[in-house]
């Protein structure tokens, strides 16, 4: 293939690629870091890197992350580009015949489209220059702009160009300015050039326009003004009306151009003149200040502390509840509506909050699917219960910080109308971490020592809109995240709290710091409880862990908050007794922690409950043995030969056994005791074979499930620096042996290779290809034709894949230096097509035909869209449409032998 680098046409793409090539290693590494999609999978050459950087997908991603000022800069450069160039580019086909050409602005005023010009075009004042310069710098670094100057000029005065492909994304009318059309009315270009020049002076654009409009019919100026700030296209008024006359006059004067029968368009230079040389009214140099209430930092911290404690408590309740009663997993995954509702009631909160508690507990690995059939959600075995509140909170918040889950969607319906459930796989959203970081960033802006700012959700969206106008986050997601932060205590009363600040990327905190930050704002632990005669107790602060445990066992909480009010009741005391407390032990412990004597009614309550506790007892047995005469049963209990029966004497005439009735019956018979089987009504049953009881099922043990790692495996990408080094090496090798290898590659591609001994170059054999055919030529051409050029799988430009082996190149690392760099990368071919489209030139296209053979045709591309190329074949005078994936290679016409 002859698309070797030195012979490429002098197109925009070429220059852009050259610009990239001339960048320093650090600059390239910065680019790869800023636009990681360029590095994964690794590009093979710098040229394919340039092609990829100007592909629509990658540019869209880059623009989605660009802020409002950067977009303004891009628009301004894009709008000024054609008017700076002389003659005007052929991007206005059909509107006017290229005339003698207006001199470009670069010959009239400022010599280069530099930062100064952009700042002025944006309508910025002198003090905006710094911000604009930063934006320009960033756009260049991200390869959205490039420097068409000498490349060696001072960085402060580059001649900026937009990267190829950007014009498509920013639309035909950047900044609402129409196309650049020749001829331009007299004096306008000069006036605009002066307005953008370093010393704007009279006559201004207004004067130039006035001069042109001196003889215009009435209403002409109004028509221009209406189109001035875009959209630049207007509908032609009906014939015979006064406005129509004005439009006609304006068209004659070249101030408007008829684009078709019904529309007129405002040429770009006229538009610029109307705008006094500006592309924008004013630069959006900085994000709007977030609006909201400001409140004392102490308030936010206190609110955050109580939210954090509440969350930790709720997770504890959740684990306990699911330990006792594990809810089942829905068939599609997730927790059922009824289980969620019940949980919300137990957590004393609403369903969205409960859903969040469930999600965050799962993220922290505290609950999970038990993997049984049918599956249930159960708490995991962890050291959770032994940690203190602050450490527990830190674990939850760390898990949340990297989560990709969107629990705020719980309760909404998906496309199929099904309710989204907590813990369902449906809630995974890859953009959540990025949005979370942005929201945290906005919250961090309001920090100001003693007071903090609590921005409204609308204000946060507004700021984020400035940061990424082309991908505005949905307000519901921002609200959802703000609510999560409030529940977590990352914010308090809507403002970032001190522990929340530790989570900012800038803080780079260790989990211990996060826990420490929370501990600093938590109220002091209190280890005493004021017991009162109405059977309540008050802990005037945050209970210590031991005290909390005691109260959890023995009392019911009535009111929570800065203090805890508990009530002792027969039920709560019974609970404590069930867990092995004794009346004396409980009273001692209470007396120990109470600064006042235990009130008599409480003491009476505990003793009275203990007196009744255990009066009725329940146990499990499988069978029983009863006799009217106690002497019959005497001795059975301790008979060694009956030890396996688990006999226990319940009453003088009743023994219980742990074996089924039939087994007991048999065992007694064999010992010589004549027993009879008895039915539930006490009547003797006729002995039948197979009358057996069923052993009591063992109580379900929910614990003892280890948490798996469960973390997402990140896509492995090489670090930018080493990637840049590789690209440079390829570059050097290419320069060394480009010619010879290019010829060899050409042969390899166009000539059928017999026997399959020659390795296939350039295209990776897709894994689904039938393996081991051995007929290399069919595989070769088929693979070449079928590998989609734009798909990531093939853009890695992997070096080698043995034909017929069917195995994909497993190793993405670049091959040794003798590897052939001359093979065309699909993206390169597309870039050539795009250039030809822009220049209206022809190219040689190799297409895989029906039989899989390559056909070589010279074509004039007309349109490239949606994976299809529409092109004119001048030889056959026919128009044809080719699927892009069938194009094997594209060669410039000039390079054909």
């Amino acid at each position: 293939m002859a698309s070797s680098l030195p012979a490429a046409p002098a197109s925009a793409t070429r220059h852009f690629a050259d610009d990239l090539r001339q960048r320093s290693d650090t600059a390239l590494a910065a680019l790869l870091r800023a636009r990681p999609d360029l590095a994964a999978p690794s590009p093979s050459t710098l040229r394919s890197l340039a092609a990829r950087a100007s592909s629509r997908t990658s540019l869209e991603r880059a623009l989605a992350r660009a802020d409002a000022l950067t977009l303004q800069v891009l628009e301004a450069v894009l709008a000024l580009e054609p008017v700076f160039r002389a003659p005007p580019g052929p991007d206005t086909p059909g509107l006017s015949t290229p005339g003698p050409g207006t001199p470009g602005l670069s010959t009239l005023g400022p010599s280069a489209l530099g930062t100064e010009v952009v700042t002025r075009a944006l309508g910025g004042a002198a003090d905006d220059r710094e911000a604009v310069e930063a934006a320009v710098h960033l756009a260049v670094e991200h390869a959205l702009l490039w420097d068409a100057g000498q490349g060696t000029g001072p960085a402060s005065s580059p001649d900026l160009r937009t990267s190829p492909g950007l014009d498509e994304l920013l639309g035909p009318n950047p900044a609402g300015l129409g196309p650049h059309i020749d001829p331009v009315p007299d004096g306008l270009a000069e006036a605009v050039a002066r307005a953008l020049g370093p010393t704007p002076g009279p006559p201004g654009t207004g004067a130039a326009l006035d001069a042109l409009l001196a003889e215009a019919p009435g209403g002409a100026r109004a028509i221009l003004d209406a189109l001035a700030w875009g959209p630049p296209v207007g509908v032609v008024p009906a014939a015979g009306t006064r406005p129509r006359d004005a439009v006609n006059w304006l068209v004659t004067a070249h101030l408007l151009v008829r684009s078709d029968a019904r529309h007129v368009v405002l040429p770009r230079l006229v538009g610029l003149a109307l705008r006094d040389g500006h592309t924008h009214r004013a630069p959006h140099t900085r994000a709007p200040e977030p609006q909201g209430r400001s409140l004392p930092a102490a308030t936010a911290d206190a609110e955050a502390a109580s939210a954090a404690l509440e969350l930790v408590r709720r997770v504890r309740v959740l684990r306990r509840s699911w330990d006792e009663n594990p809810p089942s997993v829905l068939r599609a995954g997730g927790l059922g509506v009824r289980d969620l509702r019940r949980l919300a009631a137990q957590l004393e909160t609403d369903e969205p909050t409960a859903a969040f508690v469930v999600e965050v507990a799962a993220l922290a690995g505290l609950v999970r699917d038990d993997g049984e059939a049918p599956p249930s959600y159960v708490p995991t075995v962890t050291d959770w219960d032994d940690l203190d509140d602050a450490v527990r909170w830190a674990r939850l918040v760390e898990a949340w910080l990297t989560s990709r889950r969107a629990p705020w969607l719980v309760g909404s319906r998906d496309d199929k109308g099904a309710l989204r459930a907590p813990l369902s796989p449906d809630l995974q959203r890859p953009w959540v971490p990025r949005l979370r970081d942005s929201v945290l960033g906005v919250l961090a802006e309001g920090l100001d020592g003693e007071t903090v700012l609590a921005p409204t959700a609308g204000a946060v969206v507004e700021v984020l809109t400035w940061h990424t106008p082309r991908s505005v986050p949905p307000a519901s997601a921002v609200e959802g995240l703000l609510a999560e932060m409030e529940w977590l205590g990352v914010t308090g009363a809507g403002a970032l709290s001190a522990p929340g600040r530790e989570l900012l990327p800038a803080a780079a905190s260790h989990p211990a710091d996060v826990a420490g930050a929370l501990r600093a704002v938590l109220p002091h632990e209190v280890d005493e409880i004021l017991l009162q005669g109405d059977l309540t107790g008050i802990v005037p602060g945050r209970p210590s862990r031991q005290l909390a445990r005691l109260l959890e066992r023995a009392a019911d909480v009535e009111s929570r908050g800065a203090a805890t009010t508990v009530r002792f009741s027969p039920a709560s005391v019974t609970r404590a007794l069930d867990q092995g407390e004794t009346a004396d032990g409980l009273l001692d412990e209470l007396a120990h922690r109470s600064p006042v004597p235990v009130p008599q009614p409480l003491e009476y309550l505990v003793r009275d409950t203990a007196r009744r506790h255990g009066a009725v007892r329940v146990g499990s047995a499988s069978a029983y043995l009863r006799a009217a005469d106690p002497t019959v049963l005497a001795g059975l209990e301790h008979d060694p030969s009956l030890a396996g029966l688990g006999l226990v004497r319940l009453a003088p005439t009743v023994l219980a056994a742990s074996v089924p009735a039939a087994a007991l019956h048999e065992a007694l018979r064999s010992r010589g005791l004549v027993s009879a089987l008895e039915g539930p009504d006490g009547r003797v049953l006729v002995a039948r074979r197979g009358v057996t009881g069923r052993a009591m099922p063992a109580p379900r043990s929910a614990a003892a499930i280890r948490m798996g790692s469960g973390s997402d495996v990140a896509t492995r990408t090489p670090d930018p620096e080493s990637l840049v080094a590789e690209l440079r090496a390829v570059e050097a090798a290419a320069r060394a042996g480009a010619r010879a290898r290019a010829e060899a590659a050409d042969v390899a591609h166009s000539v059928a290779v017999p026997g399959g001994g020659v390795p296939l170059r350039g295209y990776r054999v897709v894994p689904s290809m039938p393996a081991g055919t051995g007929t290399a030529q069919e595989v070769t051409s088929g693979a070449a034709g079928q590998a989609p050029p734009a798909s990531p799988a093939s853009t890695n430009g992997s070096r080698t894949a043995a034909p017929g082996s069917g195995a994909p190149a497993a190793d993405h690392e670049p091959g040794p230096a003798e590897d052939d760099p001359g093979t065309q990368h699909p993206a390169d071919g597309l870039a050539l097509l795009r250039d030809a489209l822009r220049d209206g030139s022809t190219v040689i296209v190799e297409v895989a035909g029906h039989t899989g053979r390559l056909e070589r045709r010279e074509l004039k591309p007309l349109n490239l869209d949606g994976g299809r190329l529409r092109a004119l074949d001048p030889d056959r005078e026919a128009e044809l449409t080719i699927a892009v994936h069938r194009i094997a290679s594209v060669l410039p016409t000039s390079s054909t032998p």
Partner: protein, 565 residues
């Protein structure tokens, strides 16, 4: 205050640590807007409610004061959401105002048109308001003034009633500086209102209408008399029953310049209408052929003041009648705003906001009511009764447990411990009471006892001629028996808290010799009787009365007249 006496919880309860040095100051500051929910020994619990906050607004407190008070006395940072909520709730009061317009009569005015639009859109206000005068004013049918206020409270936009009151027919009433002797040999003694009573009268008069909350025995009748004297107009007094009506009359004659001839009784037996008329709720709610026959009483005179005794018992029909009395000054008197039927908001909208409140313990510590020692005596039922109880139908269980035969002996023992006291035995079941009366040899008053006989027995008890009296629930309310110092409750109306308060109130009048009052509740162990008792006692404990539980078997051991620990 980092070490303040108050802890503000996010569930809108306020915990006040009583032993804190600035507790008293904090209590006074929060009393106007927070309802005291319970007042046990160490930490008192107050609650912020919408009604309470509106009460405070009505009394002239604004949200800023409330918020500052909370912040000032709170030990921990006050939950932010609560402060926001307080401000929001308080700002709702007074956006709508009922006022007299010189041209259009009674109108509903607003400072916030959106609110007016919202309430007018509600279907509940349909028919209560008339024509729209302008964007922010609408006429109100004078007859619907009460209903409208009631509806507006329900809608969450309570109206401030600035429409004023009719003056009413003038009738001179003064408090007399000395008491008028009841019997010829009693001497006239100088007296004056206690400070808190005077404050209550002031609070009421400045507010226009409203409720005064005072514990039993704290002299609510005197507050009523004070209000009448301040008003100086004809007065309609609504009371719970005839006995109470007579006591009101006696007290008024004793303490004011009114004479017997100026006071009429309007009850089942008498139908007098005089400048001061005392009517019973019962006669007002009597219906014949579906019509309230005695409604004309309300319009019989141009009353300048309507007094409601025991507001918490006000029956629903009287509420409806009260809705039509909105142009007259209204004073409600009660020991507790707790209504077992939960109609507190109707009291607020129809009678008025709370104008005065004082915790029992405070008044007790000032010596105006007697200190009380509350004891629950637990009786273990004999085997046979336990079997009967265990197998009884659910609806019979309480009766069985409450009228356990063993209680007779316990009552006897308790009575024996108080040989020198005036003892009341109170119960629910007539059979049980009759048995007890016979056993103790004491007279009995039940619903079947004639009013004359009741008067005679109460008189004899007051004079000390009889020292034991067995009474049914007819004596729960408004029976003034100042010398009773021991009450033994053998059975109650299930778990009624306000009944417990009333019964305790019977023995709370201060004793001449400063003796401690004793309140015994005898309950059967391990039965529903015990559960109901626990519910009732919670009320006592919450009011700050320590109580002890003793087993009936231990009763002999403890010395008579022992005081509370």
């Amino acid at each position: 205050m980092p070490d303040g006496p108050l802890i503000v919880q996010s569930d809108k309860t306020l915990l006040l640590e009583v032993d804190h040095p600035s507790a008293e100051q904090a209590r006074r500051s929060i009393a106007p807007f927070a309802e005291l929910e319970r007042a046990p020994e160490h930490v008192h619990t107050y609650r912020l409610t919408a009604l309470g906050l509106w009460n405070a607004r009505a009394a002239g407190h604004d949200a800023e004061q409330v918020v500052n008070t909370l912040i000032e006395f709170s030990r921990y940072p006050v939950p932010h959401a609560l402060l926001v909520d307080v401000a929001e709730t308080m700002s709702r009061y007074g956006r709508l105002q009922l006022a007299q317009d010189p041209a259009h009569g009674l109108v509903l005015r607003t400072t916030d048109r959106a609110v007016l639009a919202e309430v007018l859109k509600s279907r509940r206000t349909a028919g209560l308001v008339g024509a729209r005068i302008d964007e922010s004013t609408v006429t109100v049918h004078p007859s619907e003034r009460g209903h409208l206020k009631q509806v507006l409270v329900k809608l969450g936009w309570p109206a401030e009633d600035l429409a004023g009151y009719v003056d009413g027919e003038k009738h001179p009433i003064e408090l007399s500086p000395t008491t008028h002797p009841r019997t010829p040999h009693e001497k006239a003694a100088p007296w004056e209102m206690r400070p808190y009573q005077a404050q209550a009268v002031d609070g009421f008069w400045h507010g226009g209408s409203g409720v005064v909350v005072l514990p039993c025995g704290a002299g609510k009748t005197i507050v009523g008399a004070g209000a009448m004297a301040r008003s100086g107009t004809t007065t309609l007094i609504l009371v719970t029953n005839t006995v109470s009506a007579r006591q009101w009359r006696d007290e008024l004659v004793r303490r004011t310049t009114l004479t017997e001839d100026e006071i009429g009784e309007y009850s089942g037996t008498k139908k007098e209408i005089k400048p001061v008329t005392i009517a019973t709720y019962q006669v007002l709610t009597t219906k014949r052929k579906g019509v309230y026959t005695h409604l004309e009483l309300l319009d019989a005179r141009d009353w300048g003041l309507v007094l409601y005794d025991e507001v918490h018992l006000l029956p629903a029909p009287v509420f409806r009648m009260t809705a039509d009395l909105q142009a007259r000054r209204r004073l409600g008197l009660t020991a507790t705003l707790v209504r077992e039927d939960g109609r507190e908001d109707e009291v607020f909208s129809l009678i008025g906001p709370k104008r005065f409140d004082a915790p029992w313990k405070d008044i007790e510590s000032q010596g105006y009511i007697a200190p009380a020692d509350c004891v629950e005596v637990r009786l273990t039922l004999p085997e046979s009764e336990r079997m009967t109880y265990a197998t009884a139908e659910t609806e019979d269980k309480y009766r069985l447990a409450a009228s356990a035969s063993g209680k007779k002996k316990v009552v006897e023992q308790i009575v024996a411990r108080h040989p020198d006291d005036q003892v009341l035995v109170i119960g629910q079941y007539i059979d049980q009471l009759e048995e007890l009366a016979e056993h103790l040899g004491a007279p009995i008053i039940t619903g079947a006892t004639t009013n004359k006989e009741r008067q005679r027995l109460f008189g004899a008890f007051r004079e000390g001629e009889i020292s034991r009296l067995v009474v049914s629930k007819v004596a729960n309310y408004s029976v003034d028996l100042p010398e009773a110092s021991v009450a033994i409750q053998v059975s109650g109306s299930f778990g009624s808290r306000q009944e417990e308060a009333q019964r305790l109130g019977r023995i709370m009048r201060p004793k001449a010799d400063g003796r401690t009052a004793h309140f015994y509740a005898v309950v059967a162990r391990d039965t529903v009787d015990q559960d109901f008792a626990a519910h009732r006692q919670r009320f006592l404990a919450e009011q700050g009365y320590a109580y002890r539980i003793v087993d009936a078997e231990d009763l002999d051991g403890s010395p008579a007249g022992s005081t509370a620990p």
